[in-house]
């Protein structure tokens, strides 16, 4: 099995495996992230946290899909999707949350529908 590579769109922020970032990553468009960041990622568009990614900070975006590790709070304006194999340690705020089998979440979930619910384990 060999993965095909993709060409980023000219306004897309793309960070591949092997890149380390310290500080806040601000983007006006979509972010695809597979590196290591000690800091927040803020985007006006969608955020994809790929499966090699390690995020030690908060995520804020429109739609957020996570396959990697996140230690921080997640704020998805529209939707947050936790993929199989992801590891989240932090609270999630979003109007919609999707959780795949095998996703790990340790934190509070707030879907803006009422009192936050405690979520822990797989």
């Amino acid at each position: 099995m060999r993965n095909k590579s993709f060409e980023p769109h000219p306004d897309q922020t793309v960070i591949a495996q092997g890149i380390k970032i310290k500080g806040t990553l601000e983007a006006e468009s979509d972010v695809w992230f597979d590196g290591l960041v000690e800091g927040d990622i803020n985007s006006s568009g969608n955020i994809t946290i790929a499966n090699n990614a390690v995020v030690m900070g908060n995520l804020k975006g429109l739609n957020i899909m996570i396959s990697g590790k996140v230690k921080g709070n997640i704020n998805g304006g529209n939707k947050v999707l936790l993929q199989s194999g992801c590891q989240i340690e932090g609270n999630i705020k979003s109007s919609s949350l999707g959780v795949a089998e095998g996703a790990e979440l340790n934190g509070m979930v707030n879907t803006d529908t009422g009192v936050p619910a405690k979520a822990s384990g797989q």
Partner: protein, 275 residues
Amino acid sequence: MYYYIVNPAAGNRALDSIQDKLKATLHSLQIDGEFAKTLGQGDAAKITEKALARGAKTIVAVGGDNTVREIINTLHKNKETEVALGIIPLGKKNVLASHLGINSWKQACNVLAVRRISEYQFMRANRTRFIFSASFTPLQPPVEDSDETDSIKPITSTQASINIDNNALVKVEARELRIFNQKFLDTKLENQLVLQISNSIPKTSNLLGRVWDMFRSTNNAPAYSQLIAKKIEINFEQPVNLALDGKQKIGTHFELAASGKPIRLITARETDIKR
């Protein structure tokens, strides 16, 4: 009025074989004008000054990147923001024309006739201005005349610390860094810097680990990493070669940002500004 600045030596005297066809094509498209030929380096600049004095509103470089660069620098020196620059690529290197979607002299004639214009801001790397691209590559070690020559391995990557808009510090083992004006990639986007990084992904040393690496990934990998910024500061651990619009420089510390007033270029790309 169209003012054509022609480098007859460009592309191994490519003009010789197409001159009559080119003039006939321009005439049929109703965009013929004045022609002036360059005789050597610096002539394109002098002719540009003359064209501006004569009130030319459209200057066309018929040649390669060196001709284009001379004209652009003269327009910038004269703080010219009204004149549109077109390109008929004839040179060995036609990087800017290619960025504008222009790949042959015939296509260029049609592009000139349609006259779609887009405004591109200059970029600067330290104190040097450039218009379309900056490319950093690790310097290869000099081959010394000694018995140990065989043991010298060429440097294929170097450690880089990249400050993005004073917000984030990116650390990467880079093979090559390229910086463009984002607008050259899509005319609807802003004049901002796009940093593309061809990085070295750390590989697992043993075979089993590599096979596992291949299978565990469910995501398609990007062809390169990419960041968008208004200001980029780069520190390299080792000296690198910087090619600015094709011109070479060597260094370890570079500051890049958009700079100065924009220049109007005639493009084959879709754009909002027309004529």
